[in-house]
């Protein structure tokens, strides 16, 4: 697994670490984690005096877990939609967030159902959709 950073513009200064990738037929289970960087500039503005890791940054962490998994397969997914994203608990600077993703593949479309657990329990549940040119699964 390559540990090189992703090159897309992103609000994350955090590096999502993929811990495990398990193939189950065409599906892929992914375990990853990320630690919220207290010096991430987004926290200064979200919000002044009350830094909370933005919900959309949790979506971005899930997205990065998918992108890093895809890179290990040699494909580059393009996000085409988010069918649901529910934010259940606030995540703060320094928190460790555990990421569990189930990626289901059909032709060139991927769906990633992702849960993100913070210090106190489930922080967010998101389902992301992708077009994946060249995936022959």
């Amino acid at each position: 697994m390559t540990d090189a950073p992703l090159t897309q513009p992103t609000p994350l200064t955090e590096r999502v670490k993929v811990v495990e990738i398990e193939h189950q037929g065409a599906d892929i289970r992914v375990l990853a984690s990320v630690t919220v960087d207290p010096s991430n500039p987004v926290l200064a503005g979200h919000y002044p005096g009350l830094p909370i890791f933005p919900g959309v940054c949790l979506i971005e962490c899930a997205h990065h877990a998918v992108l890093m998994t895809a890179r290990s397969l040699g494909v580059a997914p393009i996000m085409s939609g988010v069918s649901t994203a529910r934010f259940l608990d606030a995540v703060f600077p320094g928190d460790v967030v555990g990421i569990q993703a189930l990626i289901t593949r059909s032709d060139t479309a991927w769906q990633a159902a992702v849960t993100l657990h913070g210090q106190h329990g489930l922080a967010a549940k998101v389902t992301l959709h992708y077009q994946v040119p060249g995936d022959e699964s």
């Binding site: 090159t7 513009p9 609000p11 002044p48 959309v56 606030a90």
Partner: protein, 161 residues
């Protein structure tokens, strides 16, 4: 024209996460149109040298959601900002990404209030660049919550899809 001062009275977000620049049309309780100009000097384009130049999709969502929050709290300046209450994004659903957005683009957000539940609001909307759709969101739930209750889940008094 409604600029940053009026926007910052209603949104607690600040640089670099204040992602609405101007409100061009507002009918309180109904709909709102807002503008966000994307520039290469925003911190997400920090990669050196730049390899790709798409505005992050999640920030496009955030920007549209901020326009939605503005509409939701329009008649409550200061109540959402900074003090006793915090505006939280409860959920978003049925998001379709139509096209990438690059620096130099002027994004127009069009949002509509679907339901006002007192301290929670359901909205929908879409974003365009040069009249072409770049994003649509089927449903946004935003909720005003006391800052002290941040560890409590944001749950609406109805079933969220």
């Amino acid at each position: 024209m409604i600029g940053i001062a009026e926007i910052a009275q209603r949104l607690p977000h600040r640089h670099p996460m204040l992602l609405v620049d101007r409100v061009t049309e507002i009918v309180p309780g109904k709909h709102l149109t807002a503008i966000k100009a994307v520039t290469a000097s925003e911190p997400w384009f920090r990669m050196s040298p730049p390899t790709e130049d798409c505005f992050p999709t999640v920030l496009l969502m955030e920007s549209l959601c901020q326009a939605a929050v503005l509409l939701a709290v329009w008649d409550m300046p200061d109540s959402a900002a900074l003090h006793s209450k915090t505006m939280l994004l409860g959920s978003i659903s049925d998001v379709i990404v139509h096209a990438p957005v690059r620096p130099g683009s002027i994004i127009h957000h069009h949002v509509r209030l679907c339901r006002d539940l007192g301290d929670s609001f359901l909205l929908d909307g879409e974003s365009t660049v040069e009249d072409r759709p770049v994003l649509e969101i089927g449903q946004v739930l935003v909720a005003l919550r006391p800052a002290a209750a941040l560890n409590a889940p944001v749950v609406a008094p109805y079933e969220v899809r």
